[in-house]
């Protein structure tokens, strides 16, 4: 497939790299003209050709999408870029982020962090999370819907195939 990428995201190179690694992709071109491509991945849906929209806020989209792996998801947390909070609601992520203070933001816990890492976690009866390089995590989430389209699979399966490492929290072993 020949893909066209129409985005103003500064992470377009990372997005292109993730897409180009997909086995069904022949080429990925950043463009402003959607004509001539088998699929266009764009900030907004394009009418003329097959297109997939880039999520507006990739990490929040990833949190929502990760919930498909969780039984009765209740708490969604992500780490926007910013100075860490000094108090608030504790949010938990896989190592090496561990625990961070968070605040409620549109139904999710936002736990700002300044480092190169970003995380997302979803807690319910089970808990899953990811911690990756912020640029990679944002880029792979931004093209998550496109990867799902290319692989004709659910977004999490497609992103895992593209290199996203998902962790789950294991509780105490039951005795006996």
């Amino acid at each position: 497939m020949r893909l066209g990428l129409i985005t103003s995201s500064p992470l377009h190179l990372r997005m292109r790299r993730v897409l180009a690694a997909h086995p069904s992709v022949i080429s990925v071109v950043q463009t402003v003209d959607p004509a001539g491509f088998d699929l266009v991945i764009s900030d907004q849906l394009v009418d003329e050709v097959a297109s997939v929209e880039i999520p507006d806020r990739p990490l929040r989209w990833l949190a929502t999408t990760l919930s498909s792996l969780v039984a009765s998801p209740e708490v969604f947390a992500y780490t926007p870029s910013g100075p860490p909070l000094r108090t608030g609601i504790p949010a938990h992520f896989p190592s090496p982020l561990h625990s961070l203070w968070a605040e409620e933001n549109a139904g999710m816990l936002a736990a700002p962090t300044n480092g190169v890492l970003a995380g997302v976690s979803v807690q319910g009866l089970t808990t899953v999370g990811v911690v990756e390089d912020r640029n990679f995590l944002t880029a792979i989430s931004a093209v998550g819907p496109a990867l799902a389209y290319l692989g004709n699979s659910d977004p999490i399966a497609a992103m895992r195939q593209a290199g996203l490492a998902v962790a789950e929290k294991i509780g105490r072993q039951q005795e006996g």
Binding site: F93, H98, T126, I170
Partner: protein
Amino acid sequence: MKKLMKFVLFIAAGAGIFKVLQEKKLLPPPDEGIWKPFTGDADSTE
């Protein structure tokens, strides 16, 4: 002079202890449970 040095050291040690205590207070409670690669069959953590 020696007294002044002792006083400065005392203040510096006090400031260091205060900083450590403050940072401890600022940390959120530690995570419970152990994170492992996702397999899809995790035990409940709650």
